[in-house]
Symmetry: C2
């Protein structure tokens, strides 16, 4: 039963990522009036964004206009798509506030505004170490990486050149590992024949990780395999490094001082400085600021990463009409045996966002029919990460079989086809396959083009 009698229930969905898309798809067949709002015009296949950042792919290969990707849903006549910035909510009046003074009334609200990178309070680091969440981020990183080799070629002094030839990736989660592995490939295989003064194979790619191992979300054995694959690619992996400073001159970090070394006292930290003109941030994410805006009005609680703690059915306490999904939600998964097991935390990965989108849509329809909502249950199909050409780690959960773990060439092929399969749109898949096949045989990267001229790219000079 619609809450506005005689009228279709108005559903506003904020965010056209994996979660928002699934919610739209599930709801477009129902008798509801949907408005999808996103600040950009495209749906982004974020798992391949590092390929745009490292010049392996063009932006259109991994993104599609939201309108085009949802054109079939549009045909059903109950979907409006708006490119607008959501600046807040008026929960009491059930309104979403947009830029330019506009607002949208809703009966039901699904917020899937996602996450951005977090510098853990060090906002000044952002200028020197771009993170990777949007296409604009990817273009900025591409310009820096390509530009650093260009600047190195311009240097006539070896000491000046060194920081341009040192690339630091901070954070060894999947994105950091992908970035570091791919940058090593570029230095060793793509560029060597193309410079005169520098030897690109002498570039140093340093991967800094705070914890004891790379890919901490995988089992230790696969972390070890990823580490070996990274080192084979020439990446200098340093774990147990706590970054304490980033500026135009490079990165400062601390490691536990070893007994007998100059640190002397057991447990004292030893400080290191790594001169670098190209630092990439892959160390942390925090939820969209819209989480804060929503929490203030609903009394919901945020976790340390700024995510809204949602109820078992993904709604907010006291607000059955609001669901929060995807990276913005701190959600739990209902256990299989509710009596015996405790709910488990849902990871911030795209399959979880999609599943939450479907559950939120289903619960919304249950509410309209006057039925009770269902608790969200996350089905974990496994975890993939690629390290570089022919190297990846795969940790699958096969129902009724248990974990299936493998690494190396076959894992890479598995990763490749899984990603191509999930890319939206036939054309994109074809272009991606073509790009990859070409890159595989030639080591060439098809998108090494930087739109901005040289002077626009130059990072600020390091302190003298």
């Amino acid at each position: 039963m619609s809450e506005v009698s005689g009228q279709r229930a108005r559903v506003v969905i904020v965010g056209a990522g994996f979660g928002g898309f699934e919610a739209v798809r599930a709801l477009s067949k129902a008798d509801v009036e949907i408005t999808l709002v996103d600040r950009t015009n495209h749906h982004l296949f974020q798992p391949l964004l590092y390929q745009v950042a490292t010049a392996g792919m063009s932006a259109p290969a991994i993104s599609a206009p939201i309108r085009h990707a949802l054109r079939r849903e549009m045909q059903r006549g109950n979907l409006t798509i708006l490119q607008a910035e959501v600046i807040g909510f008026d929960v009491a009046a059930r309104r979403v506030l947009l830029d330019a003074g506009q607002a949208l009334d809703y009966d039901h609200l699904i917020v899937a505004a996602g996450a951005t990178h977090s510098y853990f309070g060090h906002t000044d680091w952002a200028a020197h170490a771009p993170g990777l969440k949007t296409l604009a981020d990817a273009f900025a990183i591409r310009a820096r990486v390509i530009g650093a080799f260009e600047q190195a070629e311009r240097c006539t002094d070896a000491a000046q050149r060194e920081p341009w030839m040192t690339f630091v990736v901070i954070g060894a989660g999947p994105t950091g590992v992908e970035m570091a592995g791919t940058m090593a490939e570029i230095a060793h295989h793509t560029l060597p024949q193309e410079f005169r003064r520098i030897d690109s194979t002498q570039a140093r790619i340093v991967l800094l990780e705070g914890s004891a191992r790379v890919l901490g979300s995988f089992v230790p054995a696969l972390s070890q395999r990823a580490l070996e694959q990274l080192e084979r690619l020439g990446v200098d992996v340093r774990t147990g490094c706590k970054v304490t400073g980033i500026d135009a001159a490079g990165v400062t970090y601390e490691t536990p001082g070893s007994v007998g070394a100059e640190a002397g006292i057991n447990g004292a930290m030893q400080r290191h400085h790594l001169p670098s003109r190209c630092v990439i941030w892959a160390a942390g994410v925090e939820a969209s600021a819209l989480g804060q805006a929503l929490a203030v009005q609903t009394g919901a609680t945020l976790d340390r990463a700024g995510r809204i703690i949602v109820q078992a059915d993904l709604s907010l306490p006291g607000h059955t009409e609001i669901a929060v999904i995807g990276d913005l939600a701190a959600a739990t998964s209902a256990p299989k045996n509710p009596g015996a097991d405790a709910p488990t935390a849902v990871p911030g990965v795209s399959p979880a966002a999609k599943q939450m989108g479907r559950t939120a849509a289903a619960n919304l329809l249950r509410l309209l029919r006057g039925e009770p909502t269902l608790a969200f249950r996350y089905i974990d199909y496994g975890n993939l990460a690629t390290v570089g050409r022919k190297a990846a780690v795969v940790d699958l959960s096969v129902p009724g079989f248990g974990p299936l773990r493998f690494s190396g060439y076959f894992a890479w092929l598995f990763w490749l086809f899984a990603h191509i399969y999930f890319l939206i749109g036939f054309r994109n898949r074809l272009v991606v396959m073509l790009d990859w096949a070409w890159a595989y045989w030639t080591y060439e990267r098809s998108a090494r083009v930087v739109a901005q001229p040289a002077t626009a790219l130059r990072p600020a000079s390091p302190p003298a």
Copy 2:
């Protein structure tokens, strides 16, 4: 004979466009030391830039990293490529001045710095009517065109919506005709199913031209065919329109007042205002400001478009060591019968730039051998322009046969294959063919992705 005895002559080439590229290719086999400087990292196939601006192609499809495109020449060991901004010259000391305080010494200099769009002194128009010369320009135009439809969809008021649905292209040369034709295709074929509140087929595409006909560089019969093709695509073509103002609210232009109309007096101008939030400038080009810098130091003369008037052999008066080529040069072509015919002006098209690059390189080598230089002779193979899908005009000069002129579908196929043929790099050709084949069958445009979020795109509000 090298001018620096016992050393290779140092050749600096400024600009990696069509002219600079041909000069590098011709000189890389000679015993000279070449440095190629460009402000960007890519060689751009400018004839297809409008496709990037209208979301038909991704940037990497029509551009290649300079280093990659010249990798074979790099292998010969006498070529250095620098991404740097040339900020001036010291002709007396034979130095090219770069940003960041660097400089390059030369024995011979080839300047191929090209042209940019000209607003005929109205620099304030640039903010409201972007031109199309670089990849950054193309992205800016793409964001405006795609963004205007998005803004129109957000409007709840028909009067507000109208200016977002009115697209004005100023200048009906090849670029303006291509832009207008393609924008009409987008409105009528690509977008219709994808909006809810607006009907994209109601968008008005207005092409304003100051002279009496479109494609003024073609013969009148082909201009007429292009006009018919544009009108069939739904473009509102208005010739004899003198633009007198462009601001955030739209375009003001004048037409000759007709006798009996309200203008009354014969010859008086009638003023019109066209409200539009998306105006594209394709009306004029002016040479790079480096022409001015060079003219001041050498005493060379600039023409009205800021181009340097070069001698018959493309060198500057009194400076045999400096050649200026491409769109920066006001060059003449030596007649076939030097006694009977006068030299003719060379048009600013890519085949002319390429031919000048080869002549400048050949003359440089003649100077090194102590031989006299040769006058440049432009070989005109003809003129192509596309209007849109399945529509183009072709005016070929077939040696020993005379002009061969045709239009329509066959002309479009000819245009298509000529452009694919001249695109640099095998991969690009393949991607371009794929993009076009796909676009042909589906009307879909593969690159409708705008990296910037909505609020970054919004043009300034029109005056109230």
